[in-house]
Symmetry: C2
Subunit: 525 residues, 2 copies
Amino acid sequence: MISWKNLDTLESYDALDAGEFCLKDAMSGENGAARVKKYTAKMAAGMDFNYAARPVDDGILEQLKKLAEEAQLSEKFAALYNGEVINTGEKRMVLHHMTRGQLGDAVTADGADKREFYLAQQKAIAAFADRVHSGEITNAAGEKFTTVVQIGIGGSDLGPRAMYLSLENWAKKNNTFYMDARFISNVDPDDASAVLNGIDAAKSIFVLVSKSGTTLETLTNEAFVKDALKKKGLDPAKHMIAVTSETSPLAKSSDYLAAFFMDDYIGGRYSSTSAVGGAVLSLAFGGDVFARFLNGAAEEDKLAATQDVLDNADMLDALIGVYERNILGYPATAVLPYSQALSRFPAHLQQLDMESNGKSVNRFGEPVDYVTGPVIFGEPGTNGQHSFYQLLHQGTDIIPLQFVGFKASQIGNDVDIQGSTSQQKLCANVAAQIMAFACGKQSDDLNKNFEGNRPSSIIIGEQLTPEALGALLAHFENKVMFQGFLWNVNSFDQEGVQLGKVLAKRVLAHETDGALRAYSDLLNI
Amino acid sequence: MISWKNLDTLESYDALDAGEFCLKDAMSGENGAARVKKYTAKMAAGMDFNYAARPVDDGILEQLKKLAEEAQLSEKFAALYNGEVINTGEKRMVLHHMTRGQLGDAVTADGADKREFYLAQQKAIAAFADRVHSGEITNAAGEKFTTVVQIGIGGSDLGPRAMYLSLENWAKKNNTFYMDARFISNVDPDDASAVLNGIDAAKSIFVLVSKSGTTLETLTNEAFVKDALKKKGLDPAKHMIAVTSETSPLAKSSDYLAAFFMDDYIGGRYSSTSAVGGAVLSLAFGGDVFARFLNGAAEEDKLAATQDVLDNADMLDALIGVYERNILGYPATAVLPYSQALSRFPAHLQQLDMESNGKSVNRFGEPVDYVTGPVIFGEPGTNGQHSFYQLLHQGTDIIPLQFVGFKASQIGNDVDIQGSTSQQKLCANVAAQIMAFACGKQSDDLNKNFEGNRPSSIIIGEQLTPEALGALLAHFENKVMFQGFLWNVNSFDQEGVQLGKVLAKRVLAHETDGALRAYSDLLNI
């Protein structure tokens, strides 16, 4: 029997106690080396989650294990993947895991087995992509399509875009690169204009992505693109596919070459492994690469279902994160991938995490008396080192860090300078940063003093392959889910985005007064 | 006589008191409209800084004015632009304002009048760019160069890249676009590989940017590029220019077509208006556009020298920010430009702000007892609305917001959907967000309740022109400077980045033990 309780009503939470633990001391000397070997958990795709430099020891881990049990994290995850209505606000199941595997019971909804439904969409997309790549589906002039343009915003943009950028160079290197991808998201007309100016529209397929078929930015950009295509003498219906829900107005429209489906059980920010990511990624890299990406995610999901906390990297990351946020009081978390290919991965996690857990009420709509989701931000290393790391090292707040690193680059071209390759320099930097943050360095000149005691963990993989990317994505999705369980919030709705939409409509209808009218006047609306 | 005192030793800081002020009440009804009209300050390039939705009223502003006076903000700025050694840690003057104008006394250093020196560099770059554009300087085959690639990291990357993206579409529209720009920054070898794979190297000029001539990432990427050029049978010396200091090893090298200079009085993160930004921006858009950008910054600098706080948007923004950070206790600040062209402007501000003021000691190296620089993050609207705004509206922390909006788009193509253009939708959204954050909306369903009282300001301009961009950049540079004065920190050094560099070298030299050795092993170094 699952009981949904606020974090601060749990005995094991009350009992949490940082005790005498000092990260700086723990990570110094040979004891530190022992921690690096010990505090690690296996992830999918051969990756490891190493949390030696997080502020925990055996005693604190034992406490967190009790917290995981009392909060019934495993049971709640099982309820989720077995099809209970976990998104209570919107009264929906939460099935994004099922886009890449099946962890428990069959789930039937809308007259279909949902695993079969998602798999059928994946296959239909792969088949469509094959026909485009082979030249069976072409433009009116019989020319092959060379570019795919995703039109979507939020979860229909950030995740798919981050995943595309993550695999673009890998796919080029491994000859699984078929089409360039571009993205139009912002309602700023310059976004669509610039993308259209930079492509050969006659050889482009546009993927319109909107679950409801009513997202104003996306429909506006669709109209923008159709307008541009018509001006070039092209038939938009021959250049556009839709990704939407079966009940949306777009589903059966003749305006599209084809339509592929997601459903209400996949939140936008969790949709990269559904048709939302599937269409653009399969067109860009082929259905096989997309399948490999899903396999990595599925494998990680299985690990997330592991009961033993110490073997469950996703749950462990979640628990330590809540400990850092609620017990130690750290206000934000930085995501720092040492991989240029992951340049937009932090922006995706920013949505995933902040939109899921940036809540002040629990899943029953009651206010909570503790802080929930932190601010998430990040840029790739080593770039960040030359930017905001100053504050991370010597600022007045402590910001926990989530590093990601790979032993090998994706393209494999490298150069040996001063006795090391660029890839070695990249890896040396992330190792050095972990230790600089954890242990600091004493100096009598306080301007050059490093306090240390700044926690971090690192996920280490061999190379950023499709499987590794899938595992990485699933890791953070599952981490966010477990944190939502701990905070007892509904991580799957987003009522906080509604008010702005309502007011924006009012501005456009000129139905405003007071300050809103005054701002509208200043902006010439 | 200037006296540098810690913020918490100032009487006017002790006296700061939020009193009964309630933003939600203040912004409601016609009183709110009156605030929008009243609480605004002129900026350069015809822009306005509107702070009606920040948590201040006449009484609090009066207190902040006293704080500005007691902290001697204007006198300190004057000392800076008159050439006093403000960067005490590194014992250097701080002269980035002089790259775009002269606000006070002539400053002589290294045997030259510094204003004349910066101007001479600007002119030399413009002349060089002219010769490239006219075809006087070509590749060995006599073909015009079409692409400029900046090789630099940190301030040699983030600012110039953000500025380039900000003006790219504007310049294309206004026929001042000469060359595509690309950027190589990360030591990750895939960064350089991907850029090189995406350009025609034979028609590319590379700009190597390193003040000291010793930045490891940049020299490594230079070697990477030279290697690639040689493999293509090209002579690197005919494809590369340097931006460096006159005393650096690069300055007189025959490895470059030309060298342009900055100096020790320009910090990396303040160097977009120096030769660091000048070379790539003049090559991309022409020297005239770069000059217009500098004019916008110079005009804003003049306003920053205004003594009356209420007429000084830069100082006002700084004061209110410190009030929000230190009195109200808000942990982070989001920068939210409603302009896709400003997509990387928040990443630049992240460096500018966090590297400048992320300090725990004052300018004398003594610990401070108050928080200093906050975490800075942001993405363009409307994209952010579909991402992390959920947390901003309904999360447990209050995050002050800095909006930017323009009445007109840069390209001017637009489409009318549901009775409004995309540009109108964009502007309607930012107006709506300000009010949603400030006033919220009560609901008995607490999941749909918006508390409001979330402060923001907005900078409004006609269009993102070179002048507007210069003014915007200078606004934030000056804001950060004034906040540094208030916190009594040295905003112009960055000792916090040193330890990581030292440890990374040690890893590469295999001179490590303990945990650092263990991490190095895990990463196969």
